[in-house]
Every structure is written in structure tokens, then in C-alpha cells.
């Protein structure tokens, strides 16, 4: 229906305001990352100095974040994809319960989860000090997203019948999983993977508690820089973060749309 003029204007206004609310601070932060002195404004000149300082100070956090994100992705793929298939195949009260339990970490505040992990495993020094500790937390937190993305696609493309089709042609369960399930869940797996990587790179709530001086990730560094660094360095650091995460988010958006498309 053609919207009414006033309604249209109101809706447009709200939309643009919302967009400004979301985008203007991000823009300001990007600008600040390039500005010689943000307090004095852009007139003080533009520089790449802050970016350089960030890279010098924090490149290890950036690398560690990438490594942890990839590791998290690997583990969620290995555990999540087969499990998603197993859970989606025969929905029952038991699988509902398993799903509920597995998705619980999303509902429980990260702080509490991290606390629990530290209390349970903080005593094992090698584990506590290695990035694996953070990786464990990230897997716990992102696994539900992988599971759900894959299960949603499995339900949407009716993989069950495809599997029966393959079975009738003589394929064994493992062959069916690799020939039929995985390729046809590709969309969900990819969407889940992008989500997992994005979430892992940005994860702070858990990581703040879990990290040790040796295992600082990008968001932990960001929080440090917000508290103790010049605004320009904090902004430059945020900029680096944007550069890492925005392509992932854009891919997620593009991809989410095609996945939705196939699900229809």
C-alpha cells in the first residue's frame, strides 16, 4: 500500500535518526583515529601516527584474536555441524532439552560463565595460561549460534528426505552425511561460521575475566585503551577493529540474505 505522506515523513525521519544514532559515533571514532588532536578538531591535521602506535602496541592482541577466532571456528565446526545434524534428524523431547542446555550459555551473562570456568579450571595452570582457556569460553558462547544456523538450514531444505533419497540409492550413513547433509547445509554452515568468527573477535564479557597477561584479545586491548590511552589511540584501535569486523558483517548480511532465500 502506498504510505500516507505524513506517515511516510515520520517513518523516514525515525529511520534516518536511528541511522544517524548508529553511524555518527562510528564515523566520529574513525575520524578521531586519523586526527592529530581530536580535542582541537580536524583542523589540527590528519595523521596515520595513531594507527602506527596501535599496531606497535597491540598487534599481538590482534593476532591472538584472529587465531582464537579461527580456532573457535574450527572447534565449532567439528563439534557443531555433526551435532546439529544429529539433533535436527529426530526432533524429540530429548533433543529439545539438549538444545536448550546447549543454548543456555547465550542466556547466561558472560561474566557468570567466565566466573564458573575460572572457578572450575583456573587451578590448572597450563590451561589457565594458554589461549585455549579463552578459546574454550568462546566455543561455549558461539556453539549455539553454529548449531542454530545449521539446524535452521537443515530444517528448511528438508535434508531428512534428501538423506532418505541417498539411502535408497545405497549410500551409508557417513556417505550421506558428507555427500548430502554437509553440501546442502553449506549456507547455514557458512552463515554460522561468519557469525562465530564475528562474535569471537568481538567477545569481551567472557574474555575480560578469562584473559591473562599473555592472552589478551583485541576487545580486552580495546577496553584497556579506552581506559588508559588517548582518545585518538583508542579511536585508531577501534578503527582497526572495524577494519577487521566490518567485512565479516557485510559478508554475514549478504550471506544471511541468500540463506534466507534458499530457506523460503
Amino acid at each position: 500500500m502506498k504510505p500516507h505522506r505524513l506517515t511516510f515523513a515520520f517513518q523516514l525521519g525515525v529511520t534516518l535518526l536511528a541511522c544517524a544514532f548508529l553511524m555518527v559515533p562510528a564515523g566520529a571514532s574513525i575520524l578521531a583515529g586519523f586526527t592529530v588532536n581530536y580535542f582541537r578538531g580536524v583542523s589540527s591535521g590528519l595523521t596515520l601516527k595513531w594507527i602506527g602506535e596501535v599496531l606497535a602496541l597491540y598487534s599481538d592482541t590482534i593476532l591472538l584474536s584472529i587465531a582464537i577466532a579461527l580456532g573457535t571456528l574450527g572447534v565449532t565446526l567439528l563439534i557443531g555441524v555433526p551435532a546439529a545434524w544429529a539433533l535436527a534428524r529426530r526432533p524429540s523431547r530429548l533433543t529439545r532439552l539438549v538444545e536448550e542446555v546447549v543454548t543456555l550459555p547465550v542466556a547466561i551473562p558472560g561474566l557468570a560463565l567466565a566466573l564458573a570456568l575460572i572457578l572450575a579450571y583456573g587451578g590448572i595452570r597450563e590451561f589457565r595460561m594458554s589461549p585455549l582457556f579463552i578459546l574454550t569460553g568462546h566455543v561455549l558462547y558461539t556453539l549455539p549460534f553454529m548449531l542454530r544456523a545449521v539446524m535452521a538450514v537443515l530444517a528448511a531444505v528438508d535434508v531428512r528426505t534428501l538423506e532418505e533419497g541417498a539411502a535408497s540409492l545405497g549410500a551409508s550413513p557417513l556417505q550421506r552425511f558428507f555427500h548430502v547433509v554437509v553440501p546442502n547445509a553449506r549456507g547455514g554452515i557458512l552463515a554460522g561460521a561468519l557469525m562465530v568468527v564475528t562474535l569471537s573477535i568481538g567477545e569481551f564479557n567472557l574474555t575480560w575475566m578469562l584473559h591473562t597477561p599473555l592472552t589478551k584479545t583485541l576487545p580486552v586491548g580495546l577496553a584497556d585503551s579506552y581506559a588508559s590511552m588517548r582518545l585518538e589511540i583508542a579511536s585508531a584501535y577501534t578503527l582497526v577493529f572495524f577494519v577487521m569486523i566490518v567485512p565479516l558483517l557485510v559478508a554475514l548480511q549478504l550471506f544471511g540474505r541468500t540463506v534466507e532465500g534458499t530457506a523460503k
Partner: protein, 272 residues
């Protein structure tokens, strides 16, 4: 398909082991620790009996409710607009609006400081207009802005999908029966997206309840539960209280999500 059942069990095993080892067991420890403080099991009641903690709980609930309401209101208007109009630049607008989807809380906090801090854009704007300096980043209002910032993209994604899935014939049917615009909105459109409103509202609420990064970055005298837990744990080394409060917070959040899911059907946590 017995052989497939066997494979399914094999595939579920790693998940079970992981969840048991790194979720269930630690949570059991957490529950144990919460009860092992000087107050014993009474620690669980601290959130209700300690007036400061209780006040914090109430403040957190109110803030979360306000964030949810505001986000849903804005989100509904924007989602209806974007789903119903096709115009040049719309895809870009949609992208921009959903881009901050995975900004972590700390970054969102920083955005709020840039927006509403003393040196923020709003302060500059209001000073320029001669209205004095608008600074609200470090109050509840700042946290409110941060959580809205955080939740809006999620809510939008869910609501836009819901509006697009809404059968246009429903609205046309209402109009063919003589309903005007507001009547169509009230009787057909809003009820039609009610499950999505429930689902995304629950997510917004849960995030506002538990989010820590934003509060941590703004890090001022904002008393919300996440901050209290953090303070109790890291500054007072008060493990029992921190654990008890964590459990309480987790329970409340989970109950809200579970309720919303029951009311709205599945898919509530999907926007996570």
C-alpha cells in the same frame, strides 16, 4: 535406520562431553561456591535481602525494560518503513542499520562516550546551539543509549524479516473490509509481527540484563547487576556473592527468554 542412529550418537558425543565439561560442571562449581561463602546458602537471598543489591536489581530490571520498549518502538517504525518502501539507497540504509550487529559492548560504550560524553558530538551540538553542555554518557541514560545502540540492529533484523514474511494479502483483506491505515496497523500488522516483537524484545531485554562491556567502558556510578558482580568479584574478591548474583542474573534472564519463547514460538534466541 539403525546405522544412522549409531552415527548420530557418535556425532553427539563431542557435544555432550564439551558441554558437560565446560558448562555443566563449572556451573555446578559456581552454585557450590555461591553457597560456600560466610553466609552459606543464605547468600542466594542476598540479592533480595541486601537493600543495595536489591536496589541494583530493580534498577537493572527497569533499565532493561526501558531499553526493550524503546528499541521495539524505534525498531517497529524503521522495520515497517524499510520493508514497505523501495527507494534508491535503501540497501545501503539497511546495511548501515544492521552493521553494528556484532559490535562488542566495549565498543558500544566508546560510541556512547563519543556521542554523549563531555567532548561528545551532542555536547558540541548543544554548546553550539547555546543550550549548555549535554552530557549523559556516564549516567543511566548513557547506559540506556548504549543498550539501545547494541540492540537496535538485532531487533531490526528480526522485525524486518517478520514484516517481509507478513502476507500482504492480510492487510489488503483488512482494507477490502473497509479498515483505514491505523486500523490495519492495530488489527493486522502489529498482531502479525507480535511473535517477532516478543522474540526480539526478549533478546533486547536479556542483553540489557547481562551485558557488561558497555557498563564497564562507561564505568561510572551506574549500578547495574553486571557491574555489581564484577566489583564483588574482582575488587572485593567476594566470590560467593559474585557467584550468587551471577546465578540470580542468569536465572532471571533465562526465565525471560524461556517465557518469550513459549509465547512467541521458537526462534527467540535465534537473533542472539
Amino acid at each position: 535406520m539403525h546405522s544412522a542412529d549409531r552415527l548420530a550418537r557418535m556425532f553427539l558425543l563431542p557435544l555432550f562431553l564439551f558441554v558437560a565439561a565446560f558448562f555443566l560442571l563449572p556451573m555446578v562449581r559456581l552454585v557450590g561456591v555461591a553457597g560456600s561463602g560466610p553466609n552459606g546458602m543464605a547468600e542466594y537471598l542476598a540479592i533480595l535481602t541486601n537493600p543495595r543489591h536489591f536496589a541494583t536489581l530493580v534498577a537493572t530490571l527497569l533499565l532493561s525494560a526501558a531499553v526493550t520498549a524503546a528499541t521495539l518502538a524505534i525498531g517497529t517504525v524503521v522495520a515497517l518503513f524499510l520493508a514497505r518502501n523501495r527507494f534508491f539507497g535503501r540497501p545501503l540504509l539497511v546495511s548501515l542499520l544492521t552493521l553494528p550487529l556484532a559490535f562488542p559492548g566495549v565498543v558500544v560504550g566508546f560510541m556512547v562516550i563519543l556521542l554523549a560524553g563531555r567532548q561528545g558530538l551532542l555536547a558540541g551540538l548543544s554548546m553550539g546551539l547555546g543550550l549548555g553542555r549535554w552530557v549523559f554518557a556516564y549516567s543511566m541514560a548513557g547506559l540506556f543509549a548504549g543498550y539501545v545502540y547494541f540492540s537496535l540492529p538485532r531487533v531490526l533484523v528480526t522485525l524486518m524479516a517478520a514484516v517481509e514474511k507478513l502476507d500482504p494479502a492480510l492487510e489488503e483483506a483488512a482494507r477490502s473490509l473497509g479498515a483505514g491505515r491505523t486500523q490495519v496497523l492495530r488489527d493486522v500488522t502489529l498482531p502479525g509481527i507480535a511473535p517477532a516483537l516478543m522474540a526480539s524484545g526478549a533478546i533486547a531485554f536479556a542483553t540489557a540484563m547481562g551485558a557488561f562491556g558497555t557498563a564497564f567502558t562507561l564505568a561510572t556510578r551506574i549500578d547495574v547487576l553486571a557491574m555489581t558482580i564484577y566489583t564483588e568479584f574482582t575488587l572485593n574478591a567476594n566470590f560467593a556473592t559474585a557467584a550468587a548474583l551471577s546465578i540470580a542474573l542468569g536465572l532471571i534472564t533465562w526465565v525471560v527468554l524461556a517465557l518469550a519463547r513459549n509465547l512467541a514460538g521458537s526462534g527467540v534466541a535465534a537473533a542472539g
